[in-house]
């Protein structure tokens, strides 16, 4: 909206000043935008701490930062209570990730700060990866491809037999947007689906287990689709993995720390666990050395959501959320208190 300066050069009267674009603190330039050279929306004023000579801490205390009304972050940059305390005007946190473990949810709740995440933007891609990892481990797809490329098919003969996917009992840990899509896909392969969740889902027809140990004891494979928080940290521990068994397969597309990685590696090496398909690790990008030598694991560098389609949808969602919030409309992908 253009201003209408008085003829004498004095500032326009109050009420006709153009509305200030909302101020958004950008903790890191979102990969999803930069990879596509997609510009950030110009109806917001983005504060970019990395362009300032000040270290982040000092930047947050500066006059510039304290006018921020929203924070836009990725999964890698934490939004701590300390940060939030320095930004009294912040009413919204938008994260480009589906995960929320990097955000101090309690502090946001206390302050009444709304949170928007990636919602379902990645769900299909992540579900596809989970299914792909499970089939790969059971049918030894990547291992077979390696076998062929090394010329072993002609010199050594047939590769080892795999295990049929149909009829396998698959336990899904966390039946959210991603978990539901994994279930739908695996049903089409003839898998019997059950799940564990904080609460039973009334709309889901799958068998429910209230604890992961029981789920593991009654399944041939576990697919981890839940978020990382205090309760789920190392939830998949040695007991759960032993309950899954010698032929059991674990697939993780959630967060590395949901599984006690050290225990899992030991059990895989000892043959007490049948196999693993992992897109996430406790200490990315470090992957335990022992896993690199195993043929019954399939390793993926946290790429589940890395498709142009997901990223493009995510960009639309971020812009949509910012615009909705600042026009007093409901967020497109709010994180709701449960």
């Amino acid at each position: 909206m253009a201003s209408h300066p008085q003829k004498d050069g004095a500032p326009p009267p109050f009420g006709r000043r153009p509305p200030r674009p909302p101020c958004v603190l950008l903790l890191r330039h979102p990969l999803q935008f930069s990879l596509f050279n997609r510009p950030l929306p110009d109806n917001f004023h983005f504060l970019k701490p990395w362009e300032s000579p000040l270290p982040l801490d000092d930047f947050l205390s500066s006059d510039n930062a304290c006018s921020a009304e929203a924070i836009l972050t990725s999964g890698k940059v934490p939004v701590t209570a300390d940060m939030l305390r320095r930004l009294p005007e912040v009413r919204l946190v938008v994260t480009t990730s589906a995960g929320l473990n990097h955000i101090d949810l309690a502090e946001c709740r206390r302050r009444g700060i709304a949170i928007a995440n990636a919602g379902g933007a990645y769900s299909e891609d992540v579900a596809d990866l989970a299914v792909g990892l499970l089939i790969d481990v059971l049918r030894k797809v990547s291992a077979s491809d390696r076998y062929v490329r090394r010329g072993l098919w002609s010199s050594e003969g047939e590769f080892a037999l795999g295990s049929k996917l149909g009829g396998k009992r698959v336990g899904i840990v966390g039946l959210g947007s991603i978990g539901l899509k994994v279930a739908k896909r695996l049903e089409a392969f003839g898998c019997a689906i059950s799940y564990q969740s904080r609460k039973k889902k009334p709309h889901a027809s799958y068998a429910f287990y209230s604890n992961v140990y029981e789920l593991a004891a009654n399944c041939d494979a576990l697919v981890i689709c839940c978020c990382l928080n205090e309760q789920t940290h190392h939830m998949i521990n040695r007991e759960v993995l032993l309950a899954l068994g010698k032929d059991g397969v674990i697939v993780n597309i959630g967060r590395g720390s949901i599984i006690d990685e050290k225990e899992m590696v030991q059990l895989l090496v000892q043959g007490e666990l049948g196999g693993a398909g992992l897109d996430v690790f406790e200490n990315e990008p470090k992957v335990p050395e022992e896993l690199l030598a195993l043929d019954n694991v399939v390793l993926s560098p946290h790429t589940a959501a890395f498709t142009p389609e997901s990223f493009s949808d995510l960009c639309d969602l971020v812009i949509g959320n910012l615009e909705a919030f600042f026009s007093n409309k409901p967020l497109l992908s709010p994180v709701l208190d449960e």
């Binding site: 891609d125 049918r139 010329g151 002609s154 089409a188 390793l299």
Partner: protein, 313 residues
Amino acid sequence: MDAIGVLMTCPMFAYLEQELEKRFKLYRFWDFPSQRQFFKSHSGSIRAVVGNTKLGADSALIDALPRLEIVASYSVGLDKIDLGKYEEKGIRVTNTPEVLTDDVADIAIALMLGVLRKFCGCDAFVRGGKWKGGDFGFTTKFSGKSIGIVGLGRIGSAIAKRAEAFNCPISYYSRSEKPHVHYKYYPNPVALARHCRILVVACALTEETRHIIGREVMDALGPEGVLINVGRGAHVDEPALISALLEGRLGGAGLDVFENEPEVAEELLRMDNVVLLPHVGSDTVETCEAMADLVVANLEAHFTGKPLLTPVV
């Protein structure tokens, strides 16, 4: 029944050998250094042959076994069996349909996911220690991609059912349009290829379907298109495939079968937009056991005068 001579053409599955040995007198063709000697000594004892797609029971074998009554193939594919000749001679033939449908359909989807989401490349990236140097980069979304199926038989239909769970629109080409099928039909493979992103070959190998996927189909599929083959290597003009991939006229390929197994062209071994599997479509413990059980059950039925379970001829 243990006096009945059964000839197994080549090693297939230890469990199958065990089960055959329990019931029949099993001759392992590969144990005999001289085929001529074998036929001279034993041809009169052989009343059944168990073959597979690597080594079936061809014309020469039929002629060498005067007492042959039945060939039980440890496969669903019959391209190594001279069906006409068997019918002529009154020799029964059985195969192993249905039991391997799911496994082959699963591998077809695995190949699609593998090519688009680059599982093998990602795994190699991590194993090679490259993740520390940065992210892998983009892969292509699978859900929602259009899929064209060449041959909507048991396996083709099973592939379609799985792909639908990923919200993939399905179309197909078959010798004739199938009534009661809600997928879009195209009257020829080129038209099908033009209208889909992923083309999967799931039909039987016959004279008509040899090289059904040639340069024209691949060009129609295009630089973003992906070819999946879980049929037979001979369905695809392999040299044309290699050029199309090298020249970028075709986006990628997932292959479980090759024209000259187990030889795989050097050029393919070096490509990162392909997934190469050593003919493992039905290679699971569960399915191999089920196939073996079916072979044995068919032979038992024949030799006790009962109806065959899965006769072809």
